[in-house]
């Protein structure tokens, strides 16, 4: 039985270990606020993000998924984020084509020094997802209810 409660968006952020995750750390240590419903998943490189990860996040109740990596040219592994950029472009375009709201997915490049940008991006993205409302089109009905 669904538990009645006000809907709050759930956001999954895939952050690369070398830049964006450090950026999130910096945001934290700088005491910059960003929404608590942004759940960060650390990946070794933005290139590690398999399209299945993005879909899985939506299945498990995410309303928005953002991938954050090093700025193009700054990848710790030289070129991972260039590949990731192509992959995500095609995946997001595909999701849009399937009728999934394109605002639910985003890629941002955030360096280890950009704590401020990290917080700003997350706040802005969370706001945009709040506007879009609950993810109904790409959710798994079995995983709905009881979301923590």
């Amino acid at each position: 039985m669904p538990i009645e409660r006000e809907w709050e968006p759930l956001i999954v952020a895939f952050c690369c270990n070398w830049c964006s995750y450090a950026g999130a750390d910096l945001a934290g240590t700088s005491r910059l606020n960003y929404p608590a419903n942004v759940k960060i998943i650390r990946v070794p490189c933005s290139c590690r993000v398999n399209p299945l990860f993005i879909l899985r996040a939506f299945q498990r109740g995410a309303d928005g998924v953002i991938m954050a990596g090093c700025h193009p040219g700054d990848c710790h592994y030289t070129s991972g984020n260039y590949y990731a950029r192509r992959r995500m472009t095609l995946l997001f375009s595909m999701l849009d084509y399937m009728g999934i709201e394109s605002g639910r997915t985003r890629v941002e490049w955030i360096s280890a020094a950009e704590g401020g940008k990290f917080a700003a991006v997350m706040n802005e993205f969370a706001g945009a997802i709040h506007e879009l409302g609950e993810n109904r089109r790409l959710g798994d009905i079995r995983c709905k209810n009881y979301q923590k």
């Binding site: 399209p51 192509r86 375009s93 009728g99």
Partner: protein, 330 residues
């Protein structure tokens, strides 16, 4: 095509007799006139069963992976569009070129029995192609239909009569007339819809999916030894139509895993028992790749680098999906 079939049988017999090839991969006639199956022929005695007609749509190149386990060369008949899939497999090192003998055959476009059924042609006893028409002798009388009305989707969107790879050509003069068909028309039409309508369109189509995996198994680009969907630990249910998410997931990932490698051969749509227009997913990716990273035809050149294993520093940002006017809420 009758004549071409004879030429093919004769040439296959010669090459078998010379010992140039150890086996012949072609199509074996079935009992219904429109149901040939891919088959291997090992001796001249078996060759009378080799056919080539308007229902030999199956692309044989993927069978070469398995055939490569045998000694000697395999003679394979390939239609022009089949050679793209072959090149793709060659570039992925799934086939040893030295163990194949490619006999390119001309193709005037392959036919779709489903389209004939849609026109009320039932109870087919035999059929014959004559002068641009197909004449069916059925239990309910003789029915005739212009060939062009029965073409498979993949043949309406024919890439042309040129073989991308071959050792020898037979009957290459037989080619489908280029209809000037815009293969992206269907994609454009969907893109122009509001997101909600697109969503409804795809739900309507994908909810028919019976999870038979025929689209995956027939695909020359899907040649992994073990597919992610067959891995119980991957957490995807490969065979259960558990809910709409699983359907979407399967079809998005299937199309995505062949992005940049899909030659647009159209086999996925051809084999779908539920007639889901799967080519519309693949063509969307091809269209995007062409638009974002420059025109690319997988399988045209086995030495080219597929777009997803390549990059430029100036590539578009993923945000292009939103900024070019992709649908938002609605």
């Amino acid at each position: 095509m009758q004549k071409l079939s004879e030429m093919m049988r004769a040439r296959a017999a010669e090459l078998l007799a010379q010992g140039a090839v150890g086996r012949v991969l072609g199509w074996r006639s079935g009992g219904l006139g429109y149901d040939p199956s891919p088959a291997f022929f090992h001796s001249a005695e078996q060759l009378p069963e080799l056919v080539y007609n308007g229902f030999c749509a199956a692309n044989l190149s993927k069978y070469l992976i398995k055939a490569g386990e045998n000694d000697g060369r395999t003679l394979v008949f390939l239609k022009p569009c089949d050679t793209y899939g072959l090149n793709q497999l060659l570039s992925e090192h799934r086939i040893d070129r030295d163990k194949t003998y490619l006999l390119g055959v001309g193709c005037g476009g392959m036919l779709d029995m489903e389209k004939a059924r849609g026109k009320g042609i039932k109870g087919v006893g035999s059929l014959e192609e004559a002068g641009g028409a197909v004449v069916f002798q059925t239990l309910y009388g003789e029915k005739s239909c212009p060939r062009s009305d029965l073409l498979l989707e993949k043949c309406i969107a024919c890439k042309g009569g040129e073989h991308m790879a071959y050792d020898e050509l037979l009957g290459a003069e037989e080619t489908a007339a280029n209809t000037g068909f815009d293969r992206f028309a269907g994609v454009n039409e969907l893109e122009d819809m509001p997101a909600g309508e697109r969503f409804d369109f795809w739900r309507g189509q994908l909810s028919k999916c019976i999870r038979c995996n025929a689209c995956r198994n027939v695909c020359p680009a899907c040649s992994c030894n073990q597919c992610v969907f067959d891995n119980a630990r991957s957490g995807v249910s490969a065979k259960a139509n558990a809910d709409s998410f699983e359907e979407n997931l399967f079809h998005i990932i299937r199309a995505y895993h062949v992005a940049g490698r899909c030659t647009d051969c159209g086999e996925c749509s051809r084999v779908c028992p539920q007639g889901i227009p799967l080519h519309l997913l693949n063509r969307k990716l091809i269209k995007d790749i062409n638009a974002f990273y420059g025109p690319y035809q997988a399988g045209a050149d086995p030495d080219s680098l597929p777009p997803l294993t390549d990059y430029t520093k100036e590539d578009v940002e993923p945000g292009v999906v939103t900024t070019r006017g992709g649908a938002t809420g609605c």
